[in-house]
């Protein structure tokens, strides 16, 4: 392994808001989407990243950042950043602008991340989870009094899932947006990507393309466009390597970020779905994700009210040659149940050495 390289593992923050003004609430409300770009810029400056491309539909705004992604829904914001970014510094300016500019109040907060490949390169407070939890506790309003932090383990010491969740209500239900209760979020982290497949995420020298058009080419070439053919994709290829995309499909986002360098290769895939979707949807999607990256190890975090989705995940990955090595479940305020599963490719050295 390289002594140091780019940290692919993201930090992810999801904030939910509510307000009395009906123009901000519900699917027709605009809420956080009315934040002016200067406010968003101020938040991103704190985090230390910039917007490289963006797109919107009637339901939400999706930004590809220099380090990962930002999604703005009327009452929900998701920021995901990799490298050595200062994600949690986004909280104070976001809460201030939501409150003063829009009259919106925070109702729940969820922070998740995997295990960093280069933990010593991280700035404070990301050096350890306890520090992050203290920082979060201090940044959040007292009204979010139901709080829980947990490190969900796996059998592989290099994989663990860190979850912090806080809510104004003592319930695991995602209140407020009743239609959200049926949704689930998948957060997938993949390491040790197949070397030949990872090469697809390097720019070709002298291709005279810009980051947008090179990204579009990678989306097609790698098969990423086929993961959800219905989604409109906003993509970007970094120079000399690396790739990011956001998918927008009605009121559902998806996102992929790739650090392809050998020694610390990493890819993440995140999407939302409904428990009422065709059961086969998630199976088809995961199969395509595996075909794009063929990682030696992958971890899947499923956040959902229902217990049904995570079994579909295992059912999808096992026929593709992955062995489930661990499974942990826990309940969190306003998030529901988080199930953290790790999988190892049976054909990889990891499997042969460690099992």
């Amino acid at each position: 392994m390289a002594v140091s390289g780019f940290e692919g593992f993201e930090k992810r923050l999801e904030l939910h808001f509510f307000g009395d003004d009906p123009k901000n609430m519900g699917t027709l409300g605009l809420g956080l989407r009315l934040l002016d770009f200067d406010s968003i810029q101020e938040v991103l400056d704190e985090v230390q990243c910039t917007v490289v491309s963006a797109v919107a539909n009637h339901y939400f705004d999706a930004y590809v950042l220099s380090e990962s992604s930002l999604f703005v829904y009327p009452t929900k914001i998701i920021i995901k950043t990799c490298g050595t970014t200062q994600l949690l510094k986004s909280i104070p300016p976001l809460l201030r602008h939501a409150s003063l500019d829009l009259g919106l109040t925070l109702s729940s907060c969820r922070y998740t991340r995997g295990n960093f490949i280069f933990p010593r390169a991280q700035p404070f407070p990301y050096t350890n989870f306890q520090n992050e939890v203290v920082y979060l506790e201090e940044s959040l309003p007292a009204a979010l009094c139901y709080r829980k932090a947990s490190v969900m383990p796996s059998k592989t010491p290099s994989h663990a899932w860190h979850v912090f969740s806080a809510s104004t209500q003592n319930t695991t239900c995602r209140f407020g947006d009743s239609d959200e209760d049926d949704f689930y979020t998948l957060e997938i982290c993949m390491t040790e990507l197949d070397r030949d497949l990872a090469r697809n995420f390097f720019r070709r020298p002298g291709d005279d393309k810009n980051g947008d058009s090179a990204g579009k080419e990678m989306t097609e070439l790698t098969g990423i466009s086929q993961i959800n053919p219905r989604a409109l994709i906003c993509d970007f290829a970094f120079d000399p390597c690396g790739y990011s995309m956001n998918g927008i499909d009605g009121d559902r986002h998806s996102t992929i970020h790739v650090t392809p360098e050998d020694g610390y290769s990493y890819a993440s895939f995140e999407c939302v779905g409904s428990v009422y979707d065709d059961r086969e949807d998630v199976v088809r999607m995961l199969k395509k994700v595996v075909q794009v990256f063929r990682p030696a190890t992958m971890s899947v975090s499923t956040t959902c009210e229902s217990h049904e989705v995570w079994t579909r995940v295992a059912g999808a990955l096992e026929p593709l040659g992955f062995k489930c090595r661990s499974c942990a479940a826990d309940e969190f305020p306003a998030a529901g149940t988080v199930v953290y599963q790790t999988f190892v490719d049976r054909r990889s050295n990891n499997y042969n050495n460690k099992s």
Partner: protein, 120 residues
């Protein structure tokens, strides 16, 4: 017309839109149409950049259409995501950029401006 040079012209009515379209067709200039929405964050992100481009490129016509104000136009042009930039020459769509993508927008304009001066 001269007053509009160097600016992004907003069309708030169907008449204004048809007039701009006609002007664009007659002038044989490259026309860039920005389909935008008041609630679209990425549109606000790209707006200052588009205004800069318009200032720098007086030979290109920049038109802005709000998809809520001119719903039928957005539907006719099958605009589903915002911002969508349509590139028109003599009434024909020659290119399309979906999303707020600065480099792609700039390069696509450059490509068609170059093509125009090469054939002129």
């Amino acid at each position: 017309m001269a007053a509009e040079e160097g600016q992004v012209v907003s069309c708030h009515t169907l008449d204004a839109w048809n007039e701009q379209l006609q002007k664009g067709n007659d002038s044989k200039k490259l026309m860039v149409i920005d389909f935008t929405a008041s609630w679209c964050g990425p549109c606000r992100f790209i707006a200052p950049f588009l205004a800069e481009l318009a200032k720098k490129l007086p030979n290109v016509i920049f038109v802005k259409v709000d998809v809520d104000e001119l719903k039928s136009v957005a539907q006719d042009w099958a605009v589903e995501a915002m911002p969508t930039f349509m590139f028109l020459k003599e009434g024909k769509i020659v290119d399309k950029v979906v999303g707020a993508k600065k480099d792609e927008l700039q390069q696509t304009i450059a490509k068609h401006v170059a093509a125009a001066s090469a054939s002129a």
